[in-house]
């Protein structure tokens, strides 16, 4: 489903990604973790071409992301993404947020899009908020809407970029619950997160990044059992100690 081959990226002189490679097969849930500044957010943004990379290639569902001939909007419409800061469109109601991509990008009729949007809103437990604006919702609610917005496009896989790190602790679980449910339904997911509980519960594999390198790429059992690298061990001990 997603193939990342020897990807490197620079910001000017500064190298943010070095020779990153991994594969995600259909139905897999892969958690990407690592200290801040390790390049994990950059890597996930490369997958749907929000960030450009200078070397290597990424193939999503048979389409090469870095190829200039690729129709990126079309590719992105099939890859759902959820952001750290939700990024709902603040000038539109919740329903409009769910509808706009379906009508403008997928060309669905307004009625069809609204029906689909409301169904998904119901699924994330927010049907009653349909006519509100993003600014009137809590962070956890906004993030659930953002997930619904991504799902409304009927994505073949989902990317999550630190979906819970901007949330208050008591709201983290309501978002994670939705994500666990998605994972159990067999959605292909790439998730950048520090929530190791989530990783333990649903991840098939865990990738650990540091200084732009993929240091560890292992099954969940291997990773939580005995991580090979010292950096990963340190990171885990820091994160799991509290």
């Amino acid at each position: 489903m997603i193939e990342i081959n020897n990807v490197s990226k620079w910001y000017g002189q500064f190298q943010v990604l070095t020779d990153c490679s991994t594969q995600i097969t259909k139905g897999d849930v892969v958690v990407v973790c690592g200290p801040s500044g390790s390049g994990k957010s950059t890597l996930i943004k490369c997958v749907n071409g929000l960030e450009a990379f200078q070397q290597g290639n990424i193939v999503v569902n048979g389409t090469s992301v870095g190829d200039p001939k690729t129709n990126l909007p079309k590719l992105r419409s099939r890859v759902g993404m959820v952001f750290q800061h939700f990024e709902l469109f603040p000038h539109m109601s919740i329903t409009e947020n769910l509808v706009i991509g379906q009508t403008k990008v997928l060309g669905r009729s307004k009625e069809e899009a609204q029906e689909r949007g409301l169904k998904l809103l119901d699924r994330v437990g927010l049907k009653s908020q349909a006519d509100k604006f993003p600014g009137q919702l809590s962070g956890g609610q906004q993030q659930r809407v953002a997930i619904a917005r991504a799902l409304a496009m009927d994505p073949i896989c989902m990317l999550f970029d630190e979906p819970t790190s901007a949330l208050d602790p008591e709201m983290i679980n309501e978002v994670l619950d939705v994500m666990v449910e998605l994972a159990n339904e067999g959605m292909t997911m790439m998730v950048v997160t520090h929530e190791m509980g989530f990783a333990r519960k649903v991840a098939d594999r865990v990738i650990f990044m540091d200084h732009g390198h993929i240091v560890e790429d292992a099954t969940k059992e291997e990773f939580f059992g005995t991580p090979r690298s010292e950096r990963a061990q340190q990171f885990l001990s820091k994160i799991l100690s509290h």
């Binding site: 909007p73 953002a146 496009m153």
Partner: protein, 223 residues
């Protein structure tokens, strides 16, 4: 005080229809220059922010050039140069409309640029992530927010524009000020007319600036 004894407001009444036509031109000039200026200005702002370097440079040059010359000189420039380029004379009114639209575009573009940059980067990502093209992301996501955030500033600029239209005096276009001046000469009452026209400008601009304040507080609540 000799002044108040001589102050004769009765001349204002009969000259009102004449002054009204001047005010209409001032308003027309303001509205056209505002609409055209915001549209052109938005395009200029997009050009300045575009990754195509020559386009960005050209837009930057245009904006900086317009902003460093006095409006009066720009008015004189266009009045001189449009007939030279087209080969036929152009009336002061039409020349003023073209000049103000092109001149204000530079100022509006700076506002729109700030507005676009005030929208968080993540919004662009979010638009692109659901498969929108550049044009769709701009049109549906970024520009509506930029426009809404900048509405008070755009209106404040429009109040300045409304006042600046009085400078068409330099090329003899018949706006509110010019009409009042002519009326003042006809009745030999220039002093009253200048006071009256200042009063009209003040009332309109003050009312508009109150409106902007009100808008600002409402937008603050929405955010």
């Amino acid at each position: 005080m000799s002044f108040f004894a001589q102050f004769d407001l009765s001349v204002i009444g009969p000259s009102l229809p004449f002054i009204w036509t001047g005010l209409l031109f001032t308003v027309k000039l303001t509205v056209i220059a505002m609409t055209g200026g915001i549209i052109l200005g938005t395009l200029l702002a997009l050009a300045r922010l575009s990754p195509i370097t020559p386009l960005a440079m050209a837009a930057t040059w245009y904006v900086n050039l317009m902003r460093s010359i006095p409006l009066l000189m720009v008015i004189l420039w266009f009045f001189l140069i449009i007939p030279l380029l087209t080969g036929k004379p152009m009336g002061a009114e039409n020349s003023a409309i073209i000049t103000f639209t092109l001149f204000e575009a530079a100022y509006y573009s700076e506002i729109m640029r700030a507005g676009i940059q005030s929208v968080p980067r993540g919004q662009v990502w979010a638009g692109q992530a659901i498969g929108m093209t550049y044009a769709q992301t701009m049109g549906h996501i970024i520009l509506p927010q930029a426009f809404r955030n900048m509405l008070p500033v755009l209106l404040t600029q429009t109040i300045i524009l409304f006042q600046d239209t009085s400078l068409v005096y330099a090329i003899g276009a018949k706006d509110l000020l010019k009409a009042a001046e002519i009326a003042g000469k006809n009745y030999n009452r220039p002093v009253e007319m200048y006071v009256f026209v200042a009063f009209v400008y003040f009332v309109i601009c003050f009312a508009l600036s109150r409106l902007v304040k009100h808008l600002q507080s409402r937008i603050a609540i929405i955010r």
